[in-house]
């Protein structure tokens, strides 16, 4: 559905606007398959929005090429735009004085929806995002969650094969965010391809077929959420000791001294070790526990959460992957 080939975007600096030259995207080559939810994650300024704006033909690449639904974003802009529904993160993309329905009618007409069928289509998308009862209120009276849902409704008006959602749940209350996530899964079930950007890694893990990590304009690993976590050499080893009455606080220091252990936390009888070498850590940790006179009740080793992998990859809390 989407293919990019060494996509690069460099912005010139401007002394007047106090803007320094920056390479927002660098040699990004990726493929998004039909009917999958592909999520772009990465720190602020990583290039996610730049990539989305290039795919939407709102920004020209400096070099490289991209195709959406088989059409070149540089040469076939009209066909590319007809293939995309864009739902942006901001709230300033509607006419505040018009109602939700009037906004949809306006944008639907520009999308080329015929007068005879536009009302029916508007009713369908309003129904899909649960806005039917509020459709005739002015947009300016909508809550943030309602604005995001109307934005999703607009992106679906012409039933495009590709829907791009830029941080659709940012600043949205948990109930609305949950509903927006449900819409995304419904879109996937209906055969749409979804490109999503988010900072909510739980959301990314929950929804995505594949995740791509953008960092400083470069595309890092692209994989399924499970493989993302499994590929990390880190493991969370949780050891539950049998309570001898004295607790296990004395062990924390000893376990922290094991070379492969990155961090140790203690919560009651449970010790959690983040390690880069599971086998070595287990052997050393169990030996230390037994030598201290404590008995082990249970041991589990799990891959880290997506958030922990992300932090490791982007130079966050944990030392290395």
């Amino acid at each position: 559905m989407v293919h990019t080939e060494r996509l690069t975007k460099a912005f010139d600096g401007s002394s007047l606007a106090k803007r320094r030259p920056v390479t927002a995207l660098c040699d990004v080559t990726m493929e998004v398959k039909k009917s999958e939810i592909f999520t772009l994650i990465g720190p602020n300024g990583a290039g996610k929005s730049t990539l989305i704006r290039i795919l939407s033909t709102l920004l020209l690449p400096t070099s490289g090429e991209a195709w959406v639904n088989g059409y070149s974003i540089v040469r076939d802009g009209v066909r590319v735009r007809a293939s995309i529904g864009l739902s942006p993160g901001g709230e300033r993309s509607f006419y505040f004085r018009l109602t939700g329905r009037q906004n949809l009618e306006f944008f639907g007409a520009l999308q080329g929806l015929p007068h005879r069928t536009i009302r029916q289509r508007i009713n369908e998308v309003l129904d899909l995002v649960d806005l039917t009862s509020d459709a005739d209120r002015q947009f300016m009276t909508y809550s943030t969650g309602m604005r995001r849902r109307l934005s999703i409704a607009r992106s679906l008006l012409s039933s495009p094969p590709l829907v791009i959602m830029d941080e659709p749940t940012a600043s949205v209350d948990p109930a609305s965010a949950s509903r927006i996530r449900e819409y995304m899964l419904e879109l996937k079930r209906a055969g749409h391809t979804v490109i999503l950007t988010t900072h909510n890694l739980h959301e990314a893990e929950q929804l995505s077929d594949r995740i791509g990590l953008l960092q400083e304009g470069r595309l890092g690993p692209v994989d399924t959420p499970t493989n993302f976590r499994q590929a990390s050499r880190q493991r969370h080893v949780r050891i539950k000791v049998l309570d001898s009455g004295s607790g296990c606080s004395g062990l924390v220091h000893a376990l922290g001294g094991i070379p492969s252990v990155l961090r140790v936390t203690e919560q009651g009888e449970c010790l959690t070790l983040i390690t880069s070498d599971c086998a070595h850590t287990l052997t050393a940790a169990l030996t230390a526990i037994v030598q201290s006179g404590l008995a082990v009740d249970s041991v589990t080793a799990e891959p880290p959460s997506l958030e922990e992998v992300y932090l490791a990859l982007t130079g966050g809390l944990v030392k290395s992957v």
């Binding site: 912005f11 920004l59 020209l60 995309i84 901001g90 300033r92 018009l98 306006f106 944008f107 520009l110």
Partner: protein, 267 residues
Amino acid sequence: MYKVWIFLKRRVVTFASYRMALVMSFLGVLLSSLQFYFMSRMLGDGLYIPSLSPYGGDLMSYLIIGSSFLGLVNVGLTSSSGAIRNEQLTGTLEFLLMSETPLWQILAYSAVADFLSAAVGTVVVFAAMALCIGMEVHANLVAAGVVLLLAVISMSGIGLMSAGMIMVTKQGDPVSWVFGVLSGFMSGAVFPVELLPSALRYLSRLLPSSHALSALRKAITANASLSEVSGDVASLALLALVYVPLGILALSQGFNIARSRGGLAEY
């Protein structure tokens, strides 16, 4: 037609929701009418000016048609850049550009809404003058309509150049400023072009508003037919043929520069 209707509906709904602005617009039209009314009182039964004889000679009619219709014709000049600027401020420009409707068409629909709004004001002022001061109107509506249409189209060409400039500069474009100032000064809005030095007279021929005002005066006050104003009509058509393609080219250039710089949504 549906898209034209949608733009008009957006304009009317938005405008009607700002009650104070609505009231002030009506007051503005009323005050314009009053201003002309008292000017006519000052001039008594009218003042015949020999240099205005090609346009009927009556000063009051000359001024009313000049100022009213210059505003209407200038809609073509200011509408497109104004629309771009408004959409940038509203945050909707990128979504208009994401639609299947080409940008120049979007600007044309927006201009139709602007033109109709301005036309309502002009018609009200005109009707008030005809009723209150007995301004003589012997209008050839076909000729006036054709002239007005060609004038707005050729001015829109310049307006598209201005919109292309606004895409890049965001605020303040020299194109509409220069043409706006020149139109007010040398298109015959408040004095006949014939009074200008010859060099400026030639320059004024490049302004669609010069031909438009000359032909409109003849068509509205002297019932001139289309053939009688054919010289101005031909000039307007020629200017439209030059300015509109240039405007579309400039708009396309401005759009691509903004797309390349990443400044489409900036304002």
